[in-house]
Symmetry: C2
Subunit: 426 residues, 2 copies
């Protein structure tokens, strides 16, 4: 089969006409399919549904430290939950603070604290320093960028490599004292699905930065393996401590993609200095998070980390076929044309696809007109602007396998049509 580069203009035109006919057929079907967000499916939720039976009016509602889960208190969370996350994240129990249902909320609150009150005791609030900047490895997570943009920080894109952010670029950028931090999804990154190499982690820990530089280490997919090949990522908190920069990073995670997206448990982990600083705020912010949900989680995973791992295997069994539908369709429909590339991750929630430069917006539009919703083009870049108009984040988990097959087929047609439109107009 010929690549587009090898085709004559007539062959390209014939291909375009053929695809247009298929596209028009789909368009007539009034599709309503969505691959926009990394949303777990009903089937995934079903895998945790028995958790809803764990706590009832006949349950013992007192924890091992004699906390009544119905009443006030327990600011940093139940020890049982800390222990579970200690095993999941492989960080010591005492570094962990349990939050509500949203790690995004914990990140926002932490960054807001750095912005308004400073990143630590005696450090000047970013808002008073003026003109602060934040590094945004891109493509990355739109909601991260949204927080920094809300705070008026200048978003600085950093290219992603298969080993994480391009550290040559990062090390150069952090020489600017106005650069105050960086967002990182170190494992099965959103959206590339790739993981940070040991060298990347060590360089992040060691590089010279201003004292109030903070890494938002969003370990959202820490146990979210999909294949037999598991990525391993070094513990940044530990590396920072070893490098003499103990307060450089704060780690975030949750069970949103383990149990229920809207009713999981979020945590952060931090070394002593950051932990104390965060607690100074938290102590004024709340009396404590919902402990019923905390207890429900630890009783559901009653054998701890081994139960969690079995559960994640079960989820992988549901999710992997979704990834395979997309990847195998890409392989069949796109690879022979040699017009784009995509990632094939070992875990996480996304496939990152780079279509022909300058065509992503058109692909999005073609899909939309056909009833297939994709992540807004550019969303994975600071200020929503993909400089190459090329990257698309594919989220395969939510649609059914049948829907996904159709949506991916439409997507492949759109990618090829947009490429052909571009080639033929040049």
């Amino acid at each position: 089969m010929k690549t587009y580069a090898e085709m004559t203009k007539e062959e390209l035109q014939a291909e375009k006409d053929r695809l247009q006919a298929r596209y028009d057929k789909y368009k007539a079907q009034d599709l309503d399919l969505n691959m926009a967000r990394g949303k777990p499916s009903l089937e995934q939720e079903e895998a945790s549904i028995e958790m809803l039976d764990i706590i009832n009016s006949r349950s013992n509602l007192t924890t091992e430290e004699s906390t009544d889960v119905l009443n006030y208190g327990c600011l940093t969370g139940l020890i049982e939950v800390k222990r579970l996350f200690s095993d999941i994240l492989e960080v010591p129990v005492e570094k962990i603070i349990v939050g509500g249902n949203s790690s995004l909320n914990m990140m926002f609150d932490y960054l807001m604290q750095c912005y308004a009150m400073g990143a630590g005791e005696g450090l000047e609030p970013w808002v008073l320093q003026g003109g602060c900047k934040f590094l945004c490895p891109s493509p990355g997570y739109d909601r991260h960028f949204g927080i920094a943009e809300y705070l008026g920080l200048e978003l600085i894109p950093v290219p992603m490599t298969e080993n994480g952010p391009d550290m040559d670029v990062v090390e150069e950028l952090v020489k600017d004292p106005k650069v105050k931090g960086m967002f990182c999804v170190p494992k099965y990154a959103n959206p590339t699905g790739q993981s940070y190499s040991d060298e990347t982690v060590r360089r992040i820990a060691k590089m010279k930065t201003v004292e109030d530089f903070r890494v938002i280490w969003d370990n959202a997919y820490v146990i979210h393996d999909l294949t037999g090949r598991h990525d391993d990522v070094l513990d940044l908190l530990d590396e920072c401590e070893k490098a003499g920069n103990p307060d450089r990073a704060v780690l975030f995670a949750s069970t949103s993609k383990v149990t229920f997206p809207g009713a999981g448990i979020a945590v952060l982990a931090a070394n002593e200095g950051n932990r104390d600083w965060i607690l100074k705020r938290l102590d004024k912010q709340t009396i404590g998070s919902d402990k019923i949900n905390q207890l429900r989680h630890v009783r559901f995973f009653k054998d701890g980390i081994s139960d969690v791992k079995n559960h994640m295997d079960k989820l992988a069994g549901i999710i992997t076929p979704h990834f395979n539908v997309v990847l195998s369709t890409f392989e069949r429909k796109l690879k022979p044309r040699d017009i784009c590339s995509w990632t094939n991750p070992n875990g996480g929630y996304f496939i990152s696809l780079d279509c022909m430069e300058g065509t992503a917006t058109r692909v999005f539009q073609l899909c939309k007109e056909c009833g297939v919703t994709l992540t807004t083009v550019g969303a994975t870049f600071p200020y929503g602007k993909d400089p190459k108009d090329s990257n698309m984040r594919i989220a395969p988990t939510y649609p059914s396998l049948e829907e996904l097959a159709v949506a991916t087929d439409v997507l492949c047609i759109a990618i090829r049509l947009a490429a052909l439109e571009k080639i033929l107009s040049e």
Copy 2:
């Protein structure tokens, strides 16, 4: 029976010796009683315990707007919850935003937003204005004062009257453009138990302030009646709108003292301008609060406000006897001596007691040494300093009636002993 003012020195000394003997007897008993915090009792929790059976794996988990409560989304909360709170707070549904389990958290986040980002579109953040101040009607709620103190706002005490804050003082203070707001618990105030008069509410709505002045209207006890005499408080949001100051106030409430203290639902209500401004933040801060708990609440109160009111009557049946133990003991043990005064509220969680000036710290210490923990003296005042060393916040809900009888007896002995020590040393 003689008041202390009527007694001779010998009579006072004899009274002191008699009380000291009783005090020493209690001290020998190794008591461990706590009247420090407005914490609902186990019996109160028990009244809502069936709520834990409402949601299980066989429940319909889809709401009337087809929201899957397990998944992401629904930033402002379920419409069913908004409707319930609309009835509870008597404000229109569209003004309500549902949060997590803590109204304190919502207040903190709102004040942090005003501080770091400004109180509205185009308004200068308080942090950049420098030297901002906040009015603290006192005695008041220590956790309110804690938020403002954390943000570095200067806390300005305002005397409380039986109709709410002394509005002559407030109207004078708000002439200072650095005064940016005021904390209010308008109904069954913490700790006085008194409610704001219509005139007070109207004056708050009408007074001339800077544009970014904000009232934190913490309606924590809005349906928490204890007696047949119910207080009514005007709707400040409405009054502000009528007075041409629609963005002056934000209202907060929760079910922490309706269902479960640690796992209730918190809400805020605001007029359009504030609501939009808050949503700009919230949209970046979280994807949505726990909707399982929201659904559990509306299904537990399936007939809406009438179920809530019946439930509150049931709770009043549990709580009122606790108040009566304290009040009747005060009546018997303290009134004849004419050394102090206290409030007798129609609802809420506290009794506010003013003991002889200059003796509250001593009373606290005497109680503590006897195993009875009270709210730290001064906690109800800005910076923890009661200028008269006189106010004590009594929280009768948590201890059992038996414990409460003992604790209150110890307290009365301590109040009298401290007064006698003071009189005899003068």
